[in-house]
């Protein structure tokens, strides 16, 4: 891993279109090596108009070996499941195998242990009927729509989020549906209903329409105000809605969901919403949100946090100030505006500051937008600003990218990357950088419902900072993950960690050694874990 000097000096005349100058700082540039072919990955997201959005990937461990396995959506072609056969710290290696997940017409997928049996389940988003797949163990899955009362509908599903509402034994799923695919001459304004699948005993009730629906391409249950009750954030594609905007829903127990409104501080924002990433970037306990769009991405932070800790739902955009606009290609000769899809915060250089990945790719031959649009890897600097490193790090693919996942595929403490591409094979990169810093990886586990603690928080003390990571299921661009939570520690050799569970209860702080895996079971000491 190289150290690059991030210079304050920006070329005269270009300062107004890139981030404002920032103080000199050094940041460790990670090195990624593409191992797509060597790893055995060969999966293309294919299809024409009905697959112009989507193309997701789900990463999850379905054979209890700790290594993340992978499902890649294929669009009109069947999806492909890959079992992770990598050795710890070695080259990435996957083996395609039959799992029951190989459905066609799939746009994306999200893993979630719906029935809390300790075996990972999945929700498959499709053009047509969505399918809930029950994990049987050893990476075998079976359809569970009927058994779980899950109505798969017949839409064009493009967004997903999950939460366990207070006291629930069964999750609540939000599924975002796009335009009416049968509309030819006037598809605009034809956004179909988003559905909220709430529990009814150990099944799903009939879906509840989340009206108005504005063609979302990403959804996320998130406790944005630390109230203890996650709200549903919905990022909508303004290309298709009429009278729409971004949305934030109250989803609170038995109450009918309602939208946050002007009196609660919510301000209209209208973008080509395509993906959501969240992380507490400024260590104030409240997450920031990165929203992808076309030519104009947003990094939102709360406009103000009053002394009582109950902020209004007012966000301000700090992408420009933080150098995180990623609005056009940063390399090559194609300088047309960018089109951004999946986005995710992870610490790719283990310096204790999460970085930002953005998958880029033209919708389909849109000449106003870049067609050679490299994916971004924005490294966070100590002053909270971001510096582009996609080219130097080796992940600047100019394929037409869509979904993605950052995950430690070979359990070496470095976050790797898989990206789904339209009409081209998905790409896989191994993070090979020598470690700039140390790390830990943690899984939360509790008895009963919601075993993986979705909606909880992992907190890690690093010096005088507390890094907080919300365990969410949703967001990104039709790409979901379950598994190890990676935290970079910089130079720290030990870390104080604790879990804050979805019901608000906190465990005691515990000290753990850096560079290890830990299971945090509720109320129990952290348990070191080693791959077999």
């Amino acid at each position: 891993m190289r150290l690059l000097l991030a210079s304050a000096a920006l070329a005269a005349g270009s300062a107004a279109v890139v981030a404002p100058a920032h103080a000199q700082s050094s940041v460790a540039i990670p090195s990624f090596v593409e191992e797509t072919v060597r790893a055995g990955i060969n999966s293309i997201y294919a299809g024409e108009w009905q697959y112009m959005v989507g193309g997701g990937v789900a990463t999850f461990d379905c054979n209890d070996d700790g290594f993340p396995d992978m499902l890649l959506a294929g669009g009109e072609a069947p999806a492909k499941f890959y079992r992770n056969a990598s050795e710890r710290g070695g080259p990435l290696h996957f083996e395609a195998q039959a799992s029951g997940l190989e459905l066609d017409k799939m746009t994306g997928a999200y893993p979630l242990d719906i029935d809390s049996d300790g075996k990972m389940d999945l929700v498959l988003l499709r053009v047509g009927e969505n399918v809930a797949m029950r994990g049987k163990g050893q990476c075998q899955f079976e359809r569970a729509n009927e058994a779980w009362g899950f109505d798969g509908g017949d839409g064009w599903s493009t967004a997903f989020a999950a939460s366990w509402e207070h006291g629930a034994q069964w999750p609540t799923l939000a599924i975002g549906n796009y335009i009416d695919r049968n509309e030819e001459t006037s598809p605009w304004g034809s956004c179909t209903e988003n559905w909220l699948h709430r529990p009814a005993e150990k099944k799903f009730a009939a879906p509840l329409a989340l009206k108005p629906s504005y063609c979302p391409l990403s959804m996320l249950f998130t406790d944005w105000n630390r109230s203890g009750t996650p709200s549903l954030r919905v990022s909508n594609d303004r290309e298709y809605y009429e009278g729409g905007q971004e949305q934030l829903w109250h989803v609170d127990g038995a109450e009918k969901p309602t939208l946050f409104n002007d009196a609660e501080g919510w301000r209209p924002l209208r973008i080509w919403g395509m993906g959501i990433a969240s992380y507490d970037l400024d260590f104030d306990g409240y997450p920031e949100y990165f929203l992808t769009s076309m030519a104009d991405n947003k990094l939102q932070t709360l406009a103000g946090i009053p002394p009582d800790g109950k902020p209004p739902a007012t966000f301000k955009d700090v992408a420009f100030a933080k150098g995180a606009t990623a609005h056009r290609p940063y390399m090559g000769s194609d300088l047309r505006p960018s089109t951004a899809w999946h986005t995710q915060f992870e610490d790719v250089n283990n310096d204790g500051l999460v970085d930002l990945f953005i998958a880029k790719g033209n919708v389909a031959e849109m000449p106003d937008f870049a067609t050679s649009d490299p994916n971004n890897l924005l490294l966070q600097l100590p002053d909270g600003k971001f510096q582009e490193a996609g080219g130097d790090a080796g992940v600047a693919s100019t394929f037409t990218s869509r979904g993605a996942a950052l995950a430690d595929f070979n359990l070496d403490g470095l976050v790797d990357l898989v990206v789904v591409n339209r009409w081209k094979t998905a790409q896989l990169w191994r993070n090979t950088g020598s470690k700039a810093g140390s790390w830990i990886e943690v899984r939360l586990q509790q008895d009963g419902a919601n075993r993986d603690g979705v909606g909880g928080w992992l907190e890690v003390k690093r010096g005088d900072k507390i890094m907080r990571r919300e365990l969410t299921s949703g967001g990104g661009h039709v790409s979901g993950q379950s598994g190890w939570l990676h935290v970079g520690l910089g130079e720290a050799r030990r870390a104080e960690v604790r879990a804050v569970w979805p019901d608000g209860a906190s465990d005691e702080w515990q000290s753990v050694d850096a560079n290890g895996f830990y299971l945090l079971a509720r109320g129990k000491p952290a348990m070191p874990w080693q791959p077999k």
Partner: protein
């Protein structure tokens, strides 16, 4: 009133030959005015959903497409006079073959299809799909029962006229729009009262289309043919006219009535979220043309003249904007009155003076008044599908005045930009009204 459908016998057509050198038989089931409105309905959607379509760009396409339709219709009409020689740089369109039969609706359809594909070549996959769908649907309907030679000849004629207009459009300086209209390099003019970027969108750190005022105009001689008096002298003195105008924007925004808020929203006409301000006036015209069942000759005349004046209005307005390069209210008010002040509408990314919506609305109102008269009452439901209730107006000028003042309510313009913009629009509109379209 032109009848909905005219069946013109060959005998009558032959009688026209001395004038037209062509024969016209209308046999399609759909009258040409319906074809025209169908295409304009699609065009309004494409304006909203094509990323390059900022208001100036939209106005340009409305002009060229309007002229395409008009020249196509005029080629088969004994009453209409071509705009060739009247619009800057426009030469006569290809003529029809003498004594041959054309289907008017199909000819117009072919012209509109060709022009729309050309001017919206940059639209996304959904727009392309919708374009193809409407073209296929209309084509199937229009050719039913027509002889093959009439179909072939009519389509060729429509395409030829459209190609002629497209070729003309290529030389006006506005055919290529890069980076959604924001220059990659542009030196901002520094100094008190000069425009500075107002948004945190990276692209918008440069002003939109700073050279647009130098485009070739249509009916207006050139971009600076309708000059404006300067805005009030820039001053930070609280007793100055400039400060008072800024304070008026501030106070108005702080005390907006429900009605003022509704007016601001109604005329907001944001790019990518609406048909844009020029599209709003096209929409008004289309509603009236449909409501009053206006025939093809007048429909084509209205849409051509309206498109021309909207395009001229944006060229003239942009010429003035970059002449004066004035600061926006949000910049001034936050600096000298209230640092936390928020506008109701998003401040557009270009200089303030004059108000583009005012200039183009006033020009549009003058043109529509020419056709439909003073005190022509109408209801405007342009934004119904976006949840904004229709608004009723007693005249086109009343609508233009409301569009103008809406920008003050929205917090994005000072009063002088509105009042002088409306004046500028009247000057621009007069040029379009002076065009001779009837023999």
């Amino acid at each position: 009133m032109v009848p909905i459908r005219r069946m013109v016998s060959l005998a009558i057509v032959v009688a026209w030959l001395g004038v037209l050198n062509a024969a016209a038989v209308q046999a399609s089931a759909m009258p040409p005015e319906d074809v025209l409105r169908s295409w304009y309905g699609m065009i309004l959607k494409l304006v909203r959903h094509t990323a390059t379509y900022s208001p100036p760009v939209a106005s340009r396409s409305f002009a060229y497409i309007g002229v395409t339709a008009f020249e196509t219709v005029a080629g088969g009409s004994k009453d209409l006079q071509s705009l060739a020689g009247q619009l800057n740089g426009l030469t006569p369109a290809p003529q029809r073959e003498a004594g041959k039969t054309y289907d008017e609706a199909l000819t117009l359809h072919a012209a509109m299809a060709h022009a729309t594909h050309s001017f919206f070549g940059n639209t996304g996959p959904t727009g392309q799909r919708a374009l193809t769908a409407i073209e296929t649907k209309l084509h199937a309907e229009l050719i039913a029962g027509l002889p093959a030679d009439v179909v072939e000849r009519s389509e060729a004629q429509g395409r030829a006229v459209a190609a002629h207009i497209i070729a003309w459009s290529a030389t006006d300086g506005g055919a290529v729009i890069e980076n959604m209209g924001f220059p990659m390099a542009y030196d901002l003019v520094a100094g008190p009262g000069k425009w500075v970027p107002t948004s945190t969108v990276a692209q918008q750190q440069k002003p939109l289309l700073p050279s647009w005022g130098r485009l070739r105009t249509f009916a207006m001689p050139q971009g600076n043919s309708c000059p404006l008096p300067p805005p009030p002298d820039y001053s930070e003195d609280k007793t100055s006219s400039f400060f008072k105008e800024a304070n008026e924007v501030y106070e108005t925004r702080q005390n907006l009535s429900k009605e003022q808020r509704a007016i601001a929203r109604f005329w907001s006409d944001d790019p990518m979220l609406s048909p844009t301000p020029p599209g709003h006036w096209i929409s008004i015209a289309l509603q009236i043309l449909e409501r009053d069942k206006i025939g093809i000759d007048k429909s084509a005349d209205v849409l051509a003249r309206l498109g021309v004046t909207l395009a001229d209005a944006f060229i003239g307005c942009w010429d003035s904007k970059f002449q004066y390069n004035l600061v926006r209210p949000v910049t001034y008010i936050r600096k000298f009155i209230d640092p936390k002040w928020e506008t109701l509408l998003n401040t557009p990314p270009f200089p303030e003076y004059p108000s583009g919506h005012s200039t183009q609305s006033s020009a549009a109102a003058l043109v529509l008044t020419r056709f439909f008269g003073e005190n022509f009452a109408f209801e405007d439901g342009t934004h119904k599908r976006d949840g904004l209730a229709p608004r009723a107006f007693t005249s086109f000028q009343a609508a233009a005045d409301e569009a103008g003042i809406s920008r003050l309510y929205g917090g994005i313009h000072f009063r002088a930009a509105i009042e002088h913009g409306l004046e500028q629009g009247r000057c621009v509109g007069a040029y379009a009204n002076a065009l001779k379209t009837r023999r």
